[in-house]
């Protein structure tokens, strides 16, 4: 059954693919009083080969944490280690990013987009063609290799975008709400495919989402975060082998887990809204 473990639980660091140690992130505001504490002393270890979700109210620092892990932002304090190496800037050999918006460049065809990404990541030219073809075949998009991104629907584009992220061949993939711009049916199907694709590869995935069903369906563990300041609240483990069939969604266990996450988040979201109301009332008074 699902176990709840206290926040900040330490997994043996040999098995940890990503080790986040006492990370704090403060964004400077316009005035020193307006500085935002986006993350307050986060520590967690993500085991190798796991699919984990970051779940939490809007503004709790999920994107910030992901960007810190990927080396796009330097944290105010603390550090992130990937395979024992401290992160200091992007490390395209180990970590690939998939963002919410498709980042396929509109002036290149799908093939050219893959090749440019490989060039950016300094992958040997001899591998470009085979990697492109394999990745597109894996998501069933081979036919569109010479199309421009604009010729594809939003769902197809994000599918290709996903394939490209996987084609970069890193052990770790960070995804920031990759399906947020899609309709619900499309994101279900993409989620199923993603579960199937990644089951074979043993990659470590960190996935940010607002969808409770997506979190339960895809992940091995869900990190539930709290806002203001952003911190880790609890970890919910989802003990179900990959690849997961859509039937998993029909089980009572799925429903229970989903409800459990909702229960954890509801208070957070409520609190967030209340704080918002209070601070705007305070602003109105001055």
């Amino acid at each position: 059954m699902n176990k709840m473990t206290p926040a900040g639980q330490i997994v043996s660091s040999q098995t940890a693919a990503i080790s986040i140690q006492n990370v704090r992130q403060q964004y400077p505001g316009r005035h020193s009083s307006a500085a935002v504490l986006a993350l307050d002393d986060i520590s967690l270890d993500i085991p190798r080969g796991e699919f984990v979700c970051l779940l939490g109210p809007s503004g709790c620092g999920k994107s910030t944490l992901l960007n810190i892990v990927g080396g796009l932002i330097k944290p105010t304090a603390g550090k992130v280690q990937v395979s024992g190496r401290t992160i200091d800037g992007p490390s395209p050999r180990d970590i690939a990013f998939i963002f919410q918006e498709s980042t396929l460049l509109p002036w290149y065809t799908i093939r050219e987009n893959f090749h440019v990404s490989f060039k950016f990541s300094r992958i040997a030219r001899s591998e470009w063609q085979s990697r492109t073809e394999e990745a597109l075949a894996a998501v069933g998009m081979s036919r569109f290799i010479d199309h421009y991104p604009e010729q594809l629907s939003v769902g197809m584009r994000q599918r290709v975008n996903l394939a490209r992220g996987i084609a970069l061949g890193t052990d770790i993939i960070l995804m920031d709400e990759p399906f947020a711009a899609l309709d619900e049916q499309t994101r279900m199907v993409l989620g199923e495919d993603l579960s199937e694709l990644l089951a074979k590869t043993g990659k470590t995935i960190v996935f940010v989402t607002h969808s409770l069903a997506e979190a339960v369906f895809l992940s091995d563990r869900v990190y539930v975060m709290a806002a203001r300041p952003g911190r880790l609240k609890t970890i919910v483990e989802i003990d179900e082998p990959h690849p997961r069939s859509p039937d998993f969604m029909l089980t009572t266990r799925f429903g229970d887990l989903r409800n459990q996450l909702y229960g954890l988040l509801r208070d957070e979201v409520r609190e967030g809204l209340q704080i918002e109301r209070k601070s705007s009332a305070a602003a109105g008074r001055t």
Binding site: P90, F99, W107, Y108, F120
Partner: protein
């Protein structure tokens, strides 16, 4: 289909307008109401042009003016895009320098032309420097607009893949801003061309501008008009080519 047809008819009207202009010119000069010293006949201009080409004067002047324009234009393009790239590295720099560049561009820089003559003499280098200065502004302003408009998430993705600054420029920033920069480059060409001709007319030893000024001084209207007609035809043709390139780039 409709686009093609209206395009065709607008071309026909433009050609008709041109024919009308030449016809009116012919009519006015053959009526003899305007002195041939002010308005030579089209035929005498044609003869003057043939003479210019045959004497070799046409080519030598064209070479001087052409190379002056090309040098100035190249400097303007390189300096303009380099400055824009440097400035757009930070939002603060854009806020500081964009209004400054736009402000200087609003000043008639012709005012400064005597300074260029003073410092660089009446040879081609003063014209190169003067025209390059003027041509710099439209390139820089358009490139600043173009580079600033590059979508943030493309840059973030390139950065996350470890792209070098050059690779990011080559594959993301340049293609994203190319249509806007091309507009700046086209405007820059005409400003450079006009500045070189103007500069040569004012103070120079050779070049097309100098030839036109000289022909006017020596009361050789046919030769002067031969040069003027050449410059007009050349400018219209260049504009057509550059506009075509530009619309092809933005259609991509």
């Amino acid at each position: 289909m409709i686009g093609d047809a209206s395009n065709l008819s607008s071309r026909a009207i433009q050609l008709g307008f041109l024919a009308l202009l030449v016809g009116a010119w012919q009519l006015l000069s053959s009526l003899g109401t305007i002195s041939p010293l002010l308005l030579p006949s089209p035929d005498s201009v044609r003869i003057a042009f043939v003479k210019l080409v045959e004497s070799g004067q046409f080519w030598s002047s064209l070479r001087v003016t052409g190379s002056t324009v090309l040098q100035a234009w190249a400097i303007a393009m390189i300096a303009g895009s380099a400055a824009a790239y440097a400035i757009t590295r930070s939002r603060f720099l854009v806020a500081v320098f964009e209004p400054v560049i736009a402000g200087i561009f609003a000043i008639p820089l012709t005012l400064l032309f005597p300074l260029y003559i003073l410092f660089l003499g009446i040879g081609p280098s003063s014209k190169v420097a003067y025209a390059a200065t003027y041509g710099f502004f439209p390139v820089a302003l358009n490139a600043i607009a173009g580079f600033s408009a590059v979508k943030e998430h493309y840059l973030r993705a390139a950065h996350s893949m470890g792209a070098s600054a050059f690779a990011t420029f080559r594959h993301v920033m340049l293609p994203a801003s190319f249509p806007i920069i091309l507009t700046g480059i086209r405007i820059s060409f005409f400003i450079t061309f006009a500045s070189v001709l103007g500069g040569e007319t004012l103070s120079s030893v050779t070049g097309i501008g100098k030839r036109i000024a000289l022909a006017a001084e020596l009361m050789e209207p046919a030769e002067m008009f031969a040069w003027i007609v050449f410059v007009i035809v050349f400018s219209v043709a260049t504009n057509m080519v550059l506009s075509m390139l530009e619309s092809r780039a933005s259609a991509q």
